[in-house]
Symmetry: C2
Subunit: 209 residues, 2 copies
C-alpha cells in the first residue's frame, strides 16, 4: 500500500466523527460536499482521502452513512479495543487518566506509572499509580499496545526506550523533544504550549492591512 499522509488520517478520523453524528440522527446518506463542509475542507479532498482506500460511494447519491463509518472504523483500526498505559502521573498524566474521552473511543487505560515514590500507590480514577520499574514485568499482564509519555522532557527518551523494550509500538508523547525509536515504532508528539505559541505568533503577526 502506498504511504498514506498523516494529514489524510487525521481527516479520516474527523470524518468518522461527523458520520457518527449523522448516524445518531438517523441519516442514511451523505455527500462528500456535506462531509467537507463540516470538516472545513473541500469535497475533492474528501473523495481523494477516501480514494486511497477504495470506492465507498455511489455516484449520484453519495455515501451510505453506516457503511462509510464502518469502513472508516476498519481502516483506522477502531474495531478493537486498544490498551493504553500512561507513564508519568503528573498534571498531564493524571488528567489523561481521568479523562473519559479515550475510553469512549475504544482506548482503555490499563495502567499508570511514575517513578516518584510519593506518588506510587496513590489512586487516579480507579488506577493505582505503579512504580516505573514494574513496567517490564507488568506488561505481560496488561499487554498494552500504546504508551502515553507524560514525563519531563529530560526523561522522555529514557522512558521511550523503556516502553519500546516492553514491546510497545505506538507512543503519544507530550514532551517537546524528538524521540529516537526503532523504525517500527510510531510516535505522535502533542504539545499544547507549542500550539499556544502558534496562536501567539498569529496574534503578533496579524496582517495590519
Amino acid at each position: 500500500m502506498k504511504r498514506i499522509a498523516d494529514s489524510t488520517i487525521r481527516r479520516l478520523s474527523l470524518y468518522l466523527r461527523f458520520l457518527e453524528e449523522f448516524e445518531a440522527r438517523g441519516l442514511s446518506t451523505i455527500s462528500s460536499d456535506e462531509l467537507a463542509a463540516r470538516g472545513g475542507t473541500t469535497s475533492a479532498q474528501v473523495r481523494k482521502d477516501l480514494s486511497f482506500f477504495g470506492s465507498f460511494g455511489k455516484r449520484g447519491l453519495g455515501y451510505s452513512v453506516p457503511e462509510l463509518s464502518s469502513r472508516l472504523r476498519k481502516i483506522l483500526g477502531l474495531e478493537r479495543e486498544w490498551r493504553v498505559i500512561i507513564i508519568g502521573a503528573g498534571k498531564i498524566g493524571a488528567a489523561l487518566a481521568q479523562y473519559n474521552g479515550f475510553a469512549e473511543r475504544g482506548f482503555r487505560i490499563t495502567a499508570i506509572y511514575d517513578n516518584d515514590p510519593r506518588k506510587i500507590g496513590r489512586e487516579v480514577d480507579g488506577l493505582t499509580i505503579r512504580a516505573l520499574e514494574c513496567l517490564p514485568t507488568d506488561r505481560e499482564s496488561y499487554g498494552a499496545e500504546i504508551a502515553v509519555i507524560a514525563v519531563p522532557a529530560s526523561a522522555a527518551q529514557a522512558t521511550a526506550d523503556l516502553v519500546v523494550d516492553a514491546g510497545i509500538r505506538a507512543i503519544m508523547s507530550f514532551a517537546p523533544r524528538r524521540l529516537t525509536v526503532p523504525e517500527e515504532v510510531t510516535v505522535k508528539m502533542v504539545n499544547m504550549a507549542m500550539e499556544l505559541e502558534g496562536l501567539s505568533f498569529a496574534l503578533t503577526n496579524r496582517e495590519s492591512a
Copy 2:
C-alpha cells in the same frame, strides 16, 4: 509578509525550546545541523525556516544561542505575557487550569468559565469557576487575548461565537469540529482522541513486509 506555513511556526517553537536548553547549559553558539538533529529535521529545513524572517547566523560559525532565541521569542510574540481564559471546567478544562506548563511559557490563565450551576463558584487551582454569562462583562477587566474552548462538541460553535464577540482573536479548541469564525480569528484544533486514532491506524496498517 509572505504567508508563513503552520509547520514552520511549529518548528520555530521547537527550535526555541532547544535553544533555551542550550542557553541554560551556557553554550554560546549552535549550528543549523545541531538544531536539526534535536528537532528531527534537516539543517536545510532549519535554515529555510529561519530565512523567512531574516539572517540570524554567521557563516562558518553558526548561530549565537542567546541572539537566536531572543529573535525567535520576538518572532513568536513571546516577549509579552498573554492572558488566556478557559471555557469549560470539565476534565480537560480543569486539567489545563492546573497545568503549570503554560504559565512557564508566558501564558497566564486569568479565568475559567462553565455553564453548569453545580460547578460555578468552585475553585480550580486558585481560580473561581465563573458563570459563562459573565464572560462579556468580565472581559473588560481580564482583557484576555486567547480562549481555550474545552466544552462538548455540540456547544463548541456557540462558545466560539461568544468569545469572538468578546473580542478574542485566538482560540484553541478541543472540540473535534470545525469552528466558523471571522477571518481575523485564528483557531487551532487539538484533539487527543484523534491522535490516538492515528496511532491505531499505524498499528493496524503496519507494513507486513
